[in-house]
Amino acid sequence: MRARSRKSDLITGVFGAAVIAAVAFIVLFLQAWGPPVRGVRYSIMFKDVGGLGGNSPVLIAGQKVGKVDSINARPVVEGGRRTVEVEVGIVIDENFASIIEIPTDSQAQVQMSSFFGGSNLIVRLGKDRTMVKPGERLPVEGKPPVGLNELVESAYATIEKLRGGLDNLATVLNDKSLTDSIRASLLALQSTLEQFDKGMKEMGPALEKVGPTITSANALLLEMRTLIKTNNDNITGALSHFNSATRNADALLGGDVKFLVADLRSIADNMDKLVANMNDLVLDNQGNIAVSMQNIRESTESIRTFSKRIEANPSLLIWGSSEPAPAAGEAAPRKTRNVDEWSLRQSGRLPRREQD
């Protein structure tokens, strides 16, 4: 019975171990192999990728936008020294390809995602206006990850420095001359405070004199009130004189000046009427004025034409002209203003027709 139980435990243990191994295998397999991602590809050079995996996610602004597509190490010679650099190919998912543009000053960094392995590739976008074209390499070299060992080492170094500082402090405090000087400083501060207290006590009487000063100001106000009360009649008389003077001024303005203003107003009214009459006159005779102006203009034009004709042919004065006189009632043509003959000809318009 006991042997059977032991055998059963063994089977259970083996089965459990097999399940754990299978789970670990699946996890590792899924980490190493992922479904292919279609999108835009870029590459980044690293000196150290810190164990970046082949399918590690690529994060931009905390969002997974793609994955690491390939990792290729290649030997290089730098300053006569052989070293290795790693080219990491990333692919940005096609869903994000149209949104994401990577400026040329962007930098990628490998970051650990957990204490149990696995890492992300973070791309910190820069501010440059020129963009890395799809398929090209980021000009800025990638930043290696900060390892756990380095963190522990730096923490240890910090603690060491802190410890050194505390030791120095303890040494200083143990120094007798320094404690003496601190004590002397405290004593000096105490004597200064005592002197301040004494000074304040000496200022006491001076502060007490402020009270009587306020009291005397109050007494002065009382005296002024009494003075006004005793001279009230005089002040009232002066005010009444001022009042009568104002009344006289009012009377003056209401008397002669009033008439003067009224005269001026009537003159202005008359002027207004005159202007209105003139306006009416002009409006009534607007047509006549326009006709007269037109007649004057036409007469001037006729005189100009006549003088030109006389100038060209003075014999007209003696023999007259054989040209037929214009028909009665026929107005002389008046050329339309701003007619530019050259523009009219340039317009290409064909001439008018002569016969209906």
């Binding site: 043509p333 050329k335 339309t336 009219l344 317009s347 290409g348 318009r349 064909l350 016969q355």
Partner: protein, 301 residues
């Protein structure tokens, strides 16, 4: 006695015939006003004639011309389209309507109208000239030149064709060809002051001042009311040193201009300065006559 009666009767008939004066119709008066650029009166009379005698193609066409010259293009289009109702194949109306459309910036419809005009009118030059003008304004100068050439070959006595061909030459700064074409246009229509003016301007650019002056004089005799002609002629005369005549022309221009023109005043000042310099030079020449070189003495006679 019979003879005396006959003579008397003849005289009376002659007197009556002489006294009977010809009175032009409203249409003729309107045409006269249109020629004198009095568009307002011309439109008024054309419309009166239309009301009295009914609408015709000519009336509508001439009203279109009036409105086109006044740059009232919408009205012009209305009247030209009315004219086309009477004869849709009237090439002159089509050309003028096309020119209005060009002024309105409706180039596509203008080209279509011009092509129709070219199709309908195959004997005269003007549809080809109008089409050439269209291409000239589009900057297609070579195509315009071909059409002008074809037009002048088709109708060598078309002043309209020669005039616009001259403008084509002038725009490309071929002033010699332009002057010749303007002179040809002026020869074919010797009542056209603008053709004489164009010729004069081109001759002035060629520094052929005598030809320029002659053409300006012709233009002035045809359009004595245009001050710009006197001013341009005066400029030519200044170059010819005919300063007194130039001053005379400038004064005439000043009298014709409705407002004071500072440029004209500057020209007058310049002419009088040149006149003063000329007189001073003449006075100096009189005061210091050129010394006559002594005759070479004969070798002993």
């Amino acid at each position: 006695m019979n003879k005396v009666a006959l003579i008397l009767g003849f005289l009376v008939a002659a007197l009556a015939g002489g006294c009977a004066s010809y009175s032009p119709t409203k249409f003729e008066k309107a045409v006269k006003y249109l020629d004198e650029r009095d568009y307002t009166r011309a439109i008024e009379l054309f419309k009166e004639w239309r009301e009295a005698r009914g609408e015709t193609l000519t009336i509508c066409y001439n009203l279109g011309v009036c409105y086109q010259d006044l740059a009232q293009y919408d009205e012009a289009v209305v009247w030209y389209e009315r004219a086309l109702k009477y004869n849709p194949r009237d090439a002159r109306t089509l050309v003028n309507l096309a020119m209005v459309h060009i002024a309105q910036g409706r180039d596509v419809s203008a080209l279509s109208l011009l092509e129709r005009a070219v199709t309908y009118e195959t004997d005269r030059a003007y549809p080809l000239v109008a089409l050439a003008l269209f291409y000239q304004r589009q900057g297609q100068m070579a195509k315009a030149g071909e059409l002008y050439k074809k037009a002048t070959e088709r109708e060598s006595k078309s002043a309209y064709a020669w005039f616009h061909m001259a403008t084509w030459h002038e725009r490309d700064q071929r002033f010699g060809d332009a002057a010749q074409a303007y002179e040809k246009a002026a020869e074919l229509d010797d009542t056209d002051p603008v053709a004489f003016e164009g010729a004069a301007r081109c001759f002035a650019r060629l520094r052929n001042y005598s030809a320029a002056s002659r053409n300006y004089d012709f233009a002035i005799s045809l359009a004595p009311e245009r001050p710009s002609l006197y001013i341009e002629a005066a400029d030519v005369m200044i170059e010819q040193k005919r300063l007194e005549r130039a001053a005379q022309y400038l004064w005439i221009a000043r009298g014709l201009l409705p407002h004071e023109d500072t440029q004209l005043s500057d020209r007058l000042v310049k002419v009088y300065q040149l006149l003063a310099e000329q007189e001073q030079a003449a006075a100096d020449a009189r005061a210091n006559p050129p010394t006559v070189p002594p005759k070479p003495s004969g070798a002993g006679g």
